[in-house]
């Protein structure tokens, strides 16, 4: 009887662990793939775990965000089969008008690819809609 209860509790704990890892999008053994980084003047509120897409297809996630020389250094974990050209552009976009932020990579045409640990040189910070609207309003007057 007691043995059955113990087994049940252990099974419950395992399920909980599995759920929290899945929901929290954590990786136990470190993610598969390779890392590259990009420097942005502004992250626009992107978070660890945000998606990285190429042509609308998810190819990786944001692994970490840190401050470097008053700029944001965003490390991306990309799938190993996805090669990024040296002249690709990484831009921070918003799903819809107020949706979550993600990083979009526009592939380049260079023959050189960014090696693991390398840097995407070309970046484009998110467009500040408020800023743009105020500019347009000022132009009108």
């Amino acid at each position: 009887m007691e043995f059955g209860v113990g087994l049940f509790v252990i099974a419950g704990i395992l399920c909980l662990g599995y759920l929290s890892i899945k929901l929290g999008r954590m990786e136990i053994f470190g993610g598969r793939g390779y890392e590259i980084y990009a420097i942005f003047s502004n992250t626009g509120g992107i978070k660890t775990g945000s998606t990285v897409v190429l042509a609308g297809v998810e190819v990786g996630r944001v692994k970490s965000i840190s401050l470097e020389n008053y700029q944001a250094k965003i490390t991306l974990l990309l799938q190993p089969e996805v090669k990024i050209q040296e002249d690709a552009i990484a831009s921070i976009k918003t799903k819809g008008l107020v949706g979550e932020k993600y990083i979009e990579i526009t592939p380049g045409g260079s023959n050189e690819f960014i090696p693991p640990g390398g840097r995407i040189r070309e970046t484009q910070p998110p467009v500040d809609l408020e800023d743009l609207i105020s500019k347009i309003l000022f132009e009108k007057i």
Binding site: I89, T106, G109, Q124, P126
Partner: protein
């Protein structure tokens, strides 16, 4: 004697540090911008009959600083490698015409009050220069130039206005047209766009 030595030391130090205040990319970009501004403010070229001549003068100055081939290559991205040398030449020409058409009117229409240089970064052969352009409008326009060093010259290969990169914008548009229809279609559209007055 020691005073002279001190003076020489001062001269040496001063002479060596002056170029450091603004690095090469900014210095070269500033030279180009100053030349363009001089042409724009030249009273002899203000009349409508001189408009064409003035445009050509500006273009010649801009030509020295802009790397059209690099820009065109980056805008076509993946589709650039598949082009024949002949097609590449045609595309560079059309692309140049397109940019001129889009931006020349703006350059000529604005009254340029002041250009403020906001700093530069150099990373190997790559550099960026940030500027703020003050026009008659209340808010300044933020422009960032991206330059690539070729020989002694720093050449512009991309610029972003209010954070939006020109190359990224055209790369997305061109790719969409090529994937949806064909490269020929893109050329056709560019030609019609360019031939519009």
């Amino acid at each position: 004697m020691s005073l002279i030595r001190l003076w020489i030391l001062f001269l040496l130090l001063f002479g060596m540090t002056t170029p450091l205040f603004s690095g090469e990319p900014q210095e070269q970009l500033q030279q180009t911008t100053d030349k363009v501004l001089a042409i724009l403010s030249d009273p002899n070229l203000k009349s409508p009959e001189k408009a064409k001549e003035r445009r050509e003068l500006i273009l010649r100055v801009v030509d020295e600083r802009f790397d059209w081939e690099e820009m065109a290559r980056r805008c076509l991205a993946r589709h650039w490698v598949q082009r024949t040398p002949e097609e590449k030449r045609e595309f560079i020409h059309l692309f140049k015409e397109l940019l001129q058409q889009v931006y020349m009117d703006k350059v000529e229409a604005y009254s340029w009050n002041k250009i403020q240089y906001e700093g530069e970064t150099i990373d190997g052969n790559y550099g960026t220069v940030k500027v703020k352009i003050f026009t008659s409008k209340e808010q300044p326009i933020r422009v960032e130039y991206r330059l690539l060093k070729k020989g002694p010259h720093w050449l512009v290969y991309d610029f972003s206005i209010e954070g939006i990169s020109m190359v990224n914008n055209y790369r997305t548009q061109f790719n969409e047209i090529i994937v949806k229809s064909s490269y020929r279609e893109l050329i056709k559209r560019l030609k019609t766009k360019v031939s519009q007055p």
